[in-house]
Amino acid sequence: MSEPFVSRGFRGRRQSAAAGRLPPGQYETRDFPVLSAGPTPRTPLAAWDFTLRGRGTAARWTWEEFQALPRETVTVDIHCVTKWSKFGTVWEGVSVDTLLAEAGAQGVEPGPYVLAVSDGGYTTNLPLADVAGGKAWVATGYDGAPLAPEHGGPARLLVPHLYFWKSAKWVRQLRLMERDEAGFWESLGYHNFGDPWREQRYAGDE
């Protein structure tokens, strides 16, 4: 076929969006699409804990302990590798810096890489530098309400400067690692880093 086929009269659901706020190749959505790689975990809060683990040691918080940590509310744009972006999303949660500081005080050794591990087995990897310095949170609230299970509740990682698959839903652990270890999508053809502004969607993208 020399010319690609075009479906007469089909436009799709996309809306035009404010230039400059959209990374390359994205379109704005007002929805909040749910993408899942597996069933929604249903860990009861009484059984839930969050760990930040370094070599040998880990800091651990129960749900009550986690709720007692200093919290922030942030408003950010989020960008999914499937090309939708959603502007002005409001999240409430604990900064990863807070967790790193508390863990450090308990003797947890940092490492240059992080592996986020979620209920159900999902994983994603990031450099430590990209979850520190005010760049990431463990979010338990969205849009003024407790984070719904289909969007990752009770708690998900939030790393808005990278494609949203890095914001692991149902996160339970951040592992500080000496070596980078590819997560669920990173080991299946997606970019290891995932910067939407450089359009790093797939392995091999510059």
Binding site: F5, S7, R11
Partner: protein, 284 residues
């Protein structure tokens, strides 16, 4: 070419033959992955206020089995693409390939198919897909079909196939593959293929059709008036000892609850085949 498919295509002499195909396509054209094709829309037929049947002419169509589906792909002028799966409603014996699509109001693809597509337009699709959720008369009965909403489409292909194959048959043949359909729809005017189902039912004592209308049944309605539940299935389905082939299709929550109920009633899980359409019943 990926090594895997080359290895497989040299190790196998021919892909599985469809029992319904009357002429075998050349082996070379079936040795490739299922290709995207451009079908022509022959007709767009209203079925209910929200559902349309697209009758398609598909060049090189290899034939299909009742229960299979196609993937449909739409491409906008800027290259944006959206893809969805739709079950084939036509029997393998019919000439045109027919898809019945129910429009979801905030859907991305279904409103285009039901409201925009016209005879003469082309539609990109690939298929037929799926060798698991299929039935033909040769597999025998009894046949238990449970549909929710647009889940009736692949099951209708099975019933149409059954009717065509048994058309000239004697009572003995029909009684060997008795069929029962339990079909859940919201309203009387949303029952897809309603008149045809009535005709098939009236003309064939070995076919039972039970409807349940879950919202606003007409005042004179004497049938079921609630969502399909275990009790209704116990009443309508064959006992497990009859070992029916069961096919359940529709929105995921309905399919999961019906399949669970059938297993709970004692049916062999391996004999209960499911085709979940997702949250919206398949029309998005």
């Amino acid at each position: 070419m990926p090594a895997t498919s080359e290895t497989v295509s040299t190790a196998r002499s021919e892909p599985p033959a469809s029992p319904a195909a009357t002429t075998a396509a050349p082996a070379a054209s079936r040795a490739r992955p299922i290709a995207w094709r451009l079908a022509s829309v022959v007709d767009v037929v209203p079925e209910t206020p929200r559902a349309r049947t697209l009758r398609l002419d598909v060049p090189g169509w290899p034939g299909h089995r009742a229960g299979q589906h196609v993937d449909v792909r739409l491409t906008a002028e800027d290259g944006y693409q959206a893809q969805r799966s739709y079950s084939i409603g036509s029997a393998p014996e019919e000439l045109a390939v027919a898809l019945t699509v129910e429009r979801l109001d905030d859907g991305e693809v279904s409103p285009y198919l039901t409201d925009e597509l016209r005879p003469g337009d082309r539609l990109e699709l690939r298929g037929p897909i799926g060798g698991h959720f299929v039935w033909d008369v040769a597999l025998g009965g009894p046949l238990l079909l449970v549909a929710g909403g647009s889940g009736i489409v692949p099951l209708m292909a099975m019933l149409r196939h059954r009717a065509i194959v048994l058309a000239g048959a004697n009572d003995g043949a029909r009684h060997r593959v008795p069929a029962r359909l339990l079909y859940s729809a919201r309203r009387w005017d949303e029952v897809i293929y309603r008149d045809e189902l009535a005709r098939l039912h009236e003309g064939d004592p070995t076919l039972d059709v039970a409807l349940t209308l879950t919202r606003e049944p007409p005042p004179e309605w004497a049938g079921f008036r609630r969502r399909i539940d275990r009790m209704m299935l116990a009443e309508v389905a064959w006992p497990p000892a009859e070992r029916p082939h069961a096919f359940v299709c529709g929105p995921t929550p309905l399919v999961e609850s019906v399949a669970a109920a059938l297993v709970d009633l004692g049916h062999d899980p391996a004999a209960v085949k499911t085709e979940r359409f997702g949250p919206t019943g398949g029309a998005t």
